[in-house]
Amino acid sequence: MEFEALKQALFAEAKAKGLTEYEVFAKTSSDLSAEMLGHELQSVTSGTEGGICFRCAVNGRLGAASTQSTEKADVLALVARAMANAAVVDADEEPIFFEGSPAYGKKTREPVPAPDTGELRRAVADISARVFAADARVSESSSMGAGAGYVTVSLANSKGLSLSNEMSRRHSYVEAILKTGEESVNAFAVSQDITGKDPDIAVKAVNKAAAKLGAGKVKTGTYDVIFAADQVRALLSAFGGAFSGKAALEGLSRLAGKEETQVAVPMLTLVDDPFYPENPMQTPFDAEGVATYKKNLIENGVLKTLLYDLTTAKKAGKTTTGNASRPSYASNVSIAAYCMRIEPGKETPEELRARMKDGIYITEMKGLHAGANGVTGDFSIESAGFLVKDGQLAAPVKTFTVAGNFFDLLMHIDGIADNVEMGYPSLAVMAAPDILVRGLSVAGE
């Protein structure tokens, strides 16, 4: 069933059940990918997936239910299921269904149709050839892939709101494995297009892996540290939940009540920009239909705003920032940034290292899902990288932890480089440069 037909059927069922406020949200996606192991094609996958969620207000409570089934009985049953779920809820959160924003922003990237399987296979074969050409030590266990996805989101409610958005993304990746004697090392590189040529992810992954060969240990102690841009993105991803106005209301954010106060060094400005040109997954409206817009979260070190959806904003006495999020059709409305971006500093990464003089350049952190506490800000993370001696990258190092507190770290940043790089640490799109922090605890040998 197409969205319009599903919507009509559900709206009619809702009216018949005496509901006056309700909403239908649907998300469909199609994905295609090809992967190789060494020189051999390993797998070709494709998927089409869709789901629909019905939400309604019953006696001032919100109920929701969702399904992937398009059988008429299953679809119509969503109304009764959502009503039953509303009866269970007793939180004093008034459901709000939105009539629409006066205007919506313009996307800076439009979706493009997916490539065909043949194009993907040729792209991966080319990446594979480049990986093996880059270094004689590349192992047949190395893998590479290319893929594309296309997503359609539709939202309609009893207030007359009717919106839809289409987004597409493409990617390619390499996991280069180098084996020499007893030692094996691996490194990843990803790209936002299927060829992975600009910059060349084959060369990048192989060089990253080669640089890790012969890594030694670090002595336990206190070090000045530069987090590489992709690791800053990982930290933002692990702790970005603290910017949720809902987390603040729930007592789960250390940024609660800190608006208009200094939460970071003055050199730090953090932006949430739904229309960041490098972000392919742009949306002009959020999961509740509110217009999205660019905003400073931290401006010269001062917390300007947290992120809100309609319900949380009302409870907190604020205005929604258009950050209602539903990662899947089945998700409840939550709050998330679109593309957190740290504004570039003035120094190049080389100048930043020169100024640090001696310390560690961290290029890998593992297990942030477990070793980082989003509520307290504490982290203790398995890391790898390079020693920096007299401003120059020196020997590779591995198997050490770096520990600290994210919120304290914001107040102790001593340098921000100018190399803002975009990427996906997990589901979120983030952009950040290298960052220098003094005096972090490192545990090694």
């Binding site: 797998s43 969702s66 939180a91 307290t376 520990a403 545990a443």
Partner: protein
């Protein structure tokens, strides 16, 4: 679920262009997640997934397509997508499926959908009340009650056709303790592959209390010292150490492509002789158990390491082809959209020869990790990490003051040699394990163990 004749037709299409094997996996899963926050039921996430994944093999090349459109047209298109990806050959193969009944070894008395929702919210409220009652410093309690009813059907061109149903539920409680500007958290989340009757034996109040006590302990803890030390890791979720440090490296997913530190080491002594490790998907009612895996093979009890010697891997069909070894009933996928692969079920270090009190008494200075958080591993190198959620310093053989913010890192091959004492209080804990085929429920487990020497990440 799909009719036998339709599945036969889909399999026929999937192998019509030259594949040597094909498989159809159809799934319907109902999930309810009720969230309690600030003393109120905040939301119910109630979702049904429906879909089919079709896969074909040409040797060790795989072709997979999935769809949530389970109309006849949608399924034919899905099978055609697989056939199209395989190539343009022409072979005709008559598929005859032989349905085989699966005996349910994990009885469920109360299916989640048959139980009044108020029973589930009551379980949440009892947990919350106990957490709040622990101390006035408990300022927030978040509870989630999850139940999942998963039904699936799997068939392949070898004639296999089986159906199974797995029910599981879990109560997860996070408690937040605050004192002035200091905030700390605690977590406990037991679950089982049983019906709602599980909460007759698992007291919700005890779950809430445990989460609260952990948060309160962390509130009075100072930062853990950093460095290399002897560590005793408690039973239950402490078994995550084996799961990360070794378990993932024994999955065919990495072994089969030579990207595992454990590849080629069968029969070799890879661990201290006190270490016997088992993956057992047959434990009745366990969180990570099932009757058949997602390729239709019976769950099994597989000894991975016996007295320090590597005895076996966890192998799915693709891994079996790559490695030339039999399948072990370990093939799992989060849902039909993922291509299935080798995964752990309930994985644990078995009881050993040492008395628990001797283990603590043997440590002059070190860390007692009472409760572990999650972690991750690089199977290629075996480098792993995991978080300590509740830890204490051990001095002169006695457990002393609590410490917070610790993590443990090392490499699998090294830590297996360094586990030099194994206690006798084997217990499992529940977790969700992430890998290329998505997130699946797994148990980890062990008795109290001692690791002679490991790097502890800390801050003082």
């Amino acid at each position: 679920m799909l009719s036998k004749t339709l599945i036969e037709e889909l399999l026929g299409i999937a192998v019509s262009t030259g594949a040597d094997f094909a498989e159809v996996f159809a799934e319907r899963e109902h999930t309810n997640a009720i969230r309690l926050l600030s003393g109120k039921i905040e939301s119910v996430r109630d979702t049904v997934i429906v879909g089919v994944g079709i896969r074909a093999f040409c040797g060790t090349k795989t072709y997979h397509a999935s769809t949530s459109d389970v109309t006849r047209e949608g399924l034919l298109a899905c099978a055609a997508a697989v056939a199209g990806a395989v190539g343009d050959g022409k072979t005709e193969k008559k598929i005859t499926l032989v349905p085989k009944r699966v005996v349910n070894a994990h009885p469920v008395r109360e299916y989640p959908d048959d139980v009044a929702t108020v029973r589930k919210t009551d379980i949440l409220r009892r947990a919350e009340a106990a957490a709040r009652a622990a101390d006035e410093k408990i300022v927030q309690v978040i509870g989630t009650f999850l139940d999942v009813d998963r039904q699936f059907q799997v068939a392949n061109t070898e004639g296999l056709l089986r159906e199974d149903r797995k029910v599981r539920n879990r109560l997860a409680v996070s408690a937040v303790a605050a004192d002035g500007n200091d905030t700390q958290t605690g977590f406990f989340g037991p679950g089982a592959g049983r019906g709602i009757e599980y909460f007759e034996i698992m007291d919700p109040a005890a779950v809430g209390k445990r989460a609260a006590e952990q948060a309160l302990t962390n509130l009075r803890a100072s930062f853990c010292p950093a460095g290399t030390m002897t560590v005793a890791i408690e039973n239950g979720f402490g078994g995550v150490i084996f799961h990360e440090a070794c378990g993932h490296s024994l999955e065919a997913t990495s072994v089969g492509i030579g990207a595992s530190q454990m590849a080629g080491k069968l029969g070799q002594k890879i661990a201290n002789e006190k270490v016997t490790a088992i993956d057992d998907g047959t434990i009745v009612g366990a969180w990570g158990s099932y009757n058949i895996d997602d390729e239709g093979n019976p769950a099994a009890r597989n000894v991975l390491i016996e007295k320090g010697v590597l005895k076996g891997y966890m192998i799915d069909r693709l891994g079996s082809r790559r490695m030339g070894m039999p399948m072990t009933g370990n093939s799992r996928r989060e849902d039909y959209t993922y291509e299935t692969t080798s995964r752990m079920t309930n994985t644990f270090i078995d009881n050993g020869p040492d008395k628990n009190e001797d283990i603590i008494a043997s440590i002059e200075y070190g860390l007692y990790a009472r409760s572990m958080g999650g972690g991750s591993v690089n199977p290629l190198t075996g480098a792993f990490n995991f978080a300590v959620n509740e830890g204490y310093l051990v001095k002169n053989g006695k457990i002393c003051e609590p410490v917070r913010g610790a993590s443990l890192i090392g490499t699998g091959s090294q830590i297996l040699q360094d586990i030099d004492m194994v206690g006798q209080n084997l217990l499992t804990g529940q977790g969700m394990c992430g890998s290329s085929s998505g997130s699946v429920p797994t148990d980890v487990g062990q008795p109290l163990i001692r690791v002679r020497q490991i790097t502890v990440g800390g801050r003082s």
